[in-house]
């Protein structure tokens, strides 16, 4: 049962079926079932995975032989956590949309996107990677355009142009690299074996970097993000923040640094500095936001900035931190956006000034929200701490002052997160919030899973860390010492 084709194709089939389901109730249950089957299909991979540096479960066949394109996929310790994240979060995201009466088309797009994401995380052929990249983008574009807020068209246009520009740059780089490959293919390993001169690697670095930096997003390529996250329907925001941005991070690890190590040597420090700026910059902006969704959107830029800094620091601690933090961040933002969705749906506004005192009528929601917030600010014994600690330790090994500035997230994160918590949950009730209903039904399921993961990973992160350790160490060795 550990055939990677099945894992990749199943969501596509699911999407195909769901596209024709018009009845909302049938659609959501069917979508949940499909996503749970996908999750179930992931288990054999987890069980049969050998925690070493090798590529496993490989599948390869000639796709378009005349162009040297192969459909080549496989899983190693770096992709497995992300495959797990994708297939683990999709059921939660589907479940979190249960209160909305979306038709089959919506869920079809979600599952279709899932297939694209999985392809990105498993592709070992640059063309397949690129296909996955675009396949993941188009559905989310539709989700935002059709189910988003009032400004969705304007905002979506910006989102589309941004990411389209990134894709284009990446495509140019991929084709260029392909032309240099002696065996005339798009294989990742062929790309790794290329010995390009420094000046070529430098522009390759930028072409990939901008594509990935937009997706994550890294400062100053981020201005599409707060608008898009805010205007997207909550499920879309979860997909974007929870999973999709990891495409960018994963791209840097898999396709950028090992392919253009000399470019990385030249500009890695600059990239790291941009990431650290993003941490501080977005955190400070988050201080005074009054729209809860926009606040969390900015906080996400800060958190991703730290992950990016960890990648560009490029050592075992920082990379391990980055990988586990990608998973943690996914769990956290799904939890955060879901709680905020519950609150703003019941109150009919996302303005914090209209909230307050909800902890009184909804103590369970307040408690769950607290755990999620604590995970987001990286309190020890929550998942966020493990990631932040390893990331900052790794960044420290790169340079003390980078760690000091990136470490400000510890303080700034507490400021804006606790401010939000206070404004939403604490204080006195107002006319709107006094009749607030506590969480029930499917809301409980989603939030319980999130809370268990937040605390579970926080207490015992070892299994997750063990998955990627060998692969990360191996990749860093392969790239070799970086001369800055």
């Amino acid at each position: 049962m550990d055939n990677l084709f099945i894992l990749l194709l199943f969501p596509v089939l699911g999407a195909l079926v769901l596209a024709f389901v018009a009845h909302a109730k049938t659609a959501k249950w069917l979508a949940l079932l499909m996503s749970l089957i996908s999750l179930g299909l992931t288990i054999p991979f987890l069980v049969n995975f050998v925690p070493d540096a090798s590529m496993q479960f490989e599948q390869r066949f000639a796709w378009i032989p005349s162009l040297g394109i192969h459909f080549h996929v496989g899983i190693d310790g770096i992709s497995l956590p992300l495959v797990l994240l994708t297939n683990g979060l999709i059921p939660l995201i589907v479940l979190s949309a249960f209160s909305y009466d979306y038709k089959g088309g919506f869920y079809a797009l979600v599952l279709f996107m899932q297939a694209g994401l999985l392809l990105v995380f498993t592709a070992l052929d640059a063309f397949a990677f690129y296909v996955g990249w675009e396949v993941a983008l188009i559905p989310i574009y539709f989700i935002c355009a059709l189910w988003g807020g009032e400004n969705r068209i304007r905002v979506n246009l910006k989102f589309f142009i941004y990411t389209f520009l990134g894709s284009l740059l990446m495509l140019v780089a991929i084709i260029y690299l392909h032309l240099q490959v002696p065996s005339d293919d798009y294989e990742l390993t062929s790309f790794y074996q290329l010995t390009l001169d420094s000046s070529t690697q430098r522009w390759i670095f930028w072409a990939f970097f901008i594509a990935f930096a937009i997706k994550m997003p890294i400062f100053p390529f981020h201005t599409w993000q707060p608008d898009t996250y805010t205007e997207a329907p909550t499920a879309g925001t979860m997909l974007l923040a929870g999973i999709m941005l990891k495409m960018g991070v994963y791209g840097v690890i898999r396709w950028l640094i090992p392919v253009a190590p000399l470019g990385f040597a030249a500009y890695g420090q600059l990239a790291l500095i941009l990431c650290v700026i993003g941490v501080v910059y977005a955190s400070i902006i988050a201080f005074k936001q009054h729209d809860v969704k926009r606040l969390v959107a900015y906080s996400s830029i800060a958190h991703v900035g730290l992950i990016g800094a960890g990648i560009f620091a490029w050592n075992v601690q920082s990379m391990q931190g980055a990988i586990i933090q990608m998973v943690n961040h996914g769990i956290s933002v799904v939890g955060l956006f879901f709680v905020l969705d519950i609150v703003s749906r019941r109150l009919g506004t996302r303005e914090m000034s209209a909230m307050g005192g909800i902890a009184k009528p909804a103590p369970s929601l307040a408690l769950v929200f607290l755990v999620i917030v604590m995970g987001a600010v990286g309190l020890p014994l929550t998942n966020g701490f493990i990631g932040e600690f390893l990331l900052l330790l790794g960044v420290y090994e790169y340079g003390l002052w980078y760690a000091v500035f990136a470490g400000l997230t510890l303080i700034l994160g507490a400021v804006y997160m606790l401010r939000m918590y206070q404004k939403v949950m604490l204080g006195d009730m107002n006319a709107r919030t006094s009749s607030f209903a506590d969480i029930k039904g499917s809301e409980w399921v989603v939030l319980a899973v999130v809370v268990v993961l937040v605390i579970g990973i926080g207490i015992y992160p070892k299994p997750l860390l063990d998955i990627s350790e060998a692969a990360v160490t191996d990749l860093i060795d392969k790239v070799g010492p970086i001369e800055r």
Binding site: L109, K158, Y162, H222, L390, L392, L426, D428
Partner: protein
């Protein structure tokens, strides 16, 4: 017994889970029994563990026991295990945390009786004990850090326990954020420690450090950062302003977290890391300077405060300053001794204040109190003991611990002694002022309050009595040799501080000098108490109302030297302005403006996109899926 160390923190955690999950179903009586019972069980286990350590010390061993639970974080050469260390230092701390913790739990059964969040309160209190025990028991800096941040969380939860009041919720946030500033220092210190020593275990770091040179730069930076962490947790300049605000929490919380245990974590951490600090004389000077300045500043504020809890809060800040003074001059045992005696008398004073507030229908302003000794005899007598103890009047506990600190300060630098002595005078004055304003003279409250005045129930008075006894006799733990004592605590703790003593040399002061110092401070304390008596009992003076004109000095003290206002103007407001500036100008107008300009120049790129608005999604998806399937199939059949 040593095998059961893991149970000590686990039991309160179980209490937290049971009371937390069962908060809507369990009856209040059971909640109280579970909450207190778990801590009592931990206390008994701690006694068992302590007796083993004590026996080992009597046999002349170093008495250090480690227990590893599991590997927590592994990444490259980093290996962090969840493991515990029991040695003389942590063994004593265990007794304080669980012992005083238990008494305060019992007290809370009475104090919180009518509160709707009774079960939640006990759950949080248990959670606090769990994290505090992790902090104390950690065998490496990371486990200590878990506890360190965990107690911060509990502090946040309990300060904001009555969250309906947004001022209380803000106080909670302030405490958390200010602590986090210190925590960043802790974390970076940890990184430096790991880079320098390759491990984070105490047993791996300290022996290596002991071989380093005095004045090593890395150690200097590490210790300064650790001290930054300590200023946050233990409320020292410049991060002390959260502690007075933290009085928003229920009074048992103030007693347990903000007086007896959590706020002493900074002292514990430095005492634990003593070798690192001994090798960094510059840091020790900084610690000394901050300690004495905080002690004086807070004492100077306490003399004019009218809120009974605020007086005690500033007193706590001030006493913590004395402990840091002790650490700075190398009196590690003395500082820790003061941690112990302070835990006794300050917990007592806070609980006493709670008993008063309880009787006064939640009134905290001393101007509305007065003459309460008739209605609250037990509270009065126990608080009297606590006041005499903190004032340093022999033979109660505070005299011995403060004397030891001041004697060391004298040996280090006579000016330090003078400053410490002045602070001690303030201490005596504000404490007796509090006592007299509360319990002497005529009742100044409303008739309504007068009719409700009552002594607290036994669940509250028994902990007061126990603590009063401890505050009275606690000094016997470490009677100086000048008074014919055996310095039992110093002997017991000696293996922990052995390396530091080897470098610094042992402390020596002529007995005759010590007698003079003791005599002066004891006499001065009595004189100050008499002055306070004349002022507030004989002359029956009552502090003026808030807006009455005050002299410059009195106003500075009353307004807490405007430190909060200063931080607001220097940090909070500029950051908020920066936030708005970055958002409106840099982000929306600058960066996004450029992007929008670029996309406009690309042309009417929106035209093609517009088609999507009217599209049929199902159709699009269908087309996409078909396309993918065709592509795949093409590959299959041609491959």
């Amino acid at each position: 017994m040593i095998d059961l160390i893991w149970l000590i923190p686990l039991l309160p955690l179980v209490g937290f889970l049971v009371n937390g999950l069962g908060r809507n179903v369990l009856p209040k009586s059971l909640v109280g029994v579970i909450g207190s019972g778990m801590v009592l069980a931990s206390f008994l286990l701690s006694c068992g563990v302590f007796s083993v350590v004590y026996a080992a010390r009597q046999a002349g061993e170093a008495a250090s026991f480690t227990q590893a639970i599991f590997d927590w974080i592994n990444a490259g050469n980093l290996h962090v295990s969840l493991s515990f260390l029991v040695d003389p230092l942590s063994a004593v701390m265990l007794l304080i945390v669980t012992g005083i913790g238990f008494l305060i739990h019992v007290y809370s059964i009475g104090y919180m009786k009518h509160d709707a969040g009774f079960a939640k309160f006990f759950a949080f209190l248990n959670l606090f004990i769990f994290f505090m025990l992790l902090l104390v028991l950690g065998s490496n800096y990371i486990v200590m850090f878990i506890g360190w941040e965990g107690v911060g969380l509990c502090s946040y939860l309990l300060i904001g326990f009555w969250f309906k009041n947004s001022a209380y919720a803000s106080a909670a946030k302030k405490a958390f954020v200010m602590n986090r500033i210190g925590d960043l220092g802790f974390l970076i210190a940890v990184f430096l420690l790991f880079a320098t020593f390759g491990t984070l275990e105490f047993s791996g770091i300290f022996p290596q450090a002991a071989n380093m040179l005095v004045g090593d730069t890395t150690l200097l930076v590490i210790t300064l950062l650790l001290f930054v962490a300590a200023t946050g947790k233990s409320a020292q300049i410049p991060l002390f302003t959260w502690l007075p605000d933290a009085m928003a929490g229920p009074t048992p919380v103030s007693a347990l977290i903000h007086a007896a245990t959590m706020v002493t974590a900074g002292i514990y951490m430095i005492a634990r890391s003593n070798i690192l600090f001994t090798l960094s004389p510059i840091t020790l000077q900084v610690v000394t300077a901050i300690g004495i300045c905080t002690a004086l500043l807070a004492a100077a504020i306490a003399v004019t405060q009218n809120d009974i809890k605020k007086v005690l809060a500033y007193s706590t800040v001030s006493q913590l300053g004395y402990m840091f003074l002790g650490l700075g001059v190398g009196a590690f045992t003395g500082a820790f001794f003061h941690v112990i005696t302070h835990a006794f008398f300050k917990a007592l004073l806070f609980l006493g204040a709670g008993s008063v507030i309880h009787a006064m229908s939640d009134e905290q302003d001393m101007r509305s109190m007065g003459g309460l000794k008739k209605q609250l005899p037990v509270t009065y007598l126990t608080m009297l003991v606590g006041t005499i103890a903190i004032a340093g009047i022999p033979p109660l506990s505070g005299f011995f611990s403060k004397d030891e600190l001041l004697a060391h300060a004298f040996a280090d630098n006579k000016l330090l002694w003078v400053l410490g002595f002045i602070g001690a005078l303030f201490t005596v004055f504000y404490m007796f002022r509090m006592l007299f304003l509360t319990f002497f003279g005529k009742f100044r409250g409303t008739a309504e309050q007068a009719s409700h005045l009552h002594e607290s129930p036994a669940t509250m008075t028994i902990p007061l009595i126990v603590l009063a006894v401890l505050a009275a006799v606690g000094g016997l733990l470490n009677v100086p040799s000048a008074l014919g004592g055996s310095q039992a605590l110093a002997d017991f703790l000696s293996p922990v501080f052995a390396d530091s003593v080897a470098i610094k040399g042992s402390f020596h002061l002529e007995h005759s000098t010590e007698y003079v110092l003791m005599g002066i401070s004891a006499l001065a304390a009595v004189v100050m108490a008499i002055i306070a008596y004349r002022q507030y009992v004989t002359k029956n003076m009552v502090p003026t109302s808030d807006d009455a004109p005050r002299s410059l000095l009195a106003r500075l003290s009353y307004r807490k030297f405007y430190v909060d206002e200063l931080y607001d103007a220097l940090v909070v407001r500029p950051l908020n302005t920066l936030s708005v500036f970055l958002y409106r100008i840099v982000d929306n107008w600058g960066i996004d403006g450029i992007v929008n300009g670029l996309s406009r120049s690309v042309g009417e790129s929106g035209r093609g996109i517009r088609l999507l608005q009217s599209g049929n999604v199902g159709f699009y998806i269908f087309m996409m899926v078909i396309a993918i399937v065709v592509l795949l199939a093409y590959g299959f059949f041609n491959g």
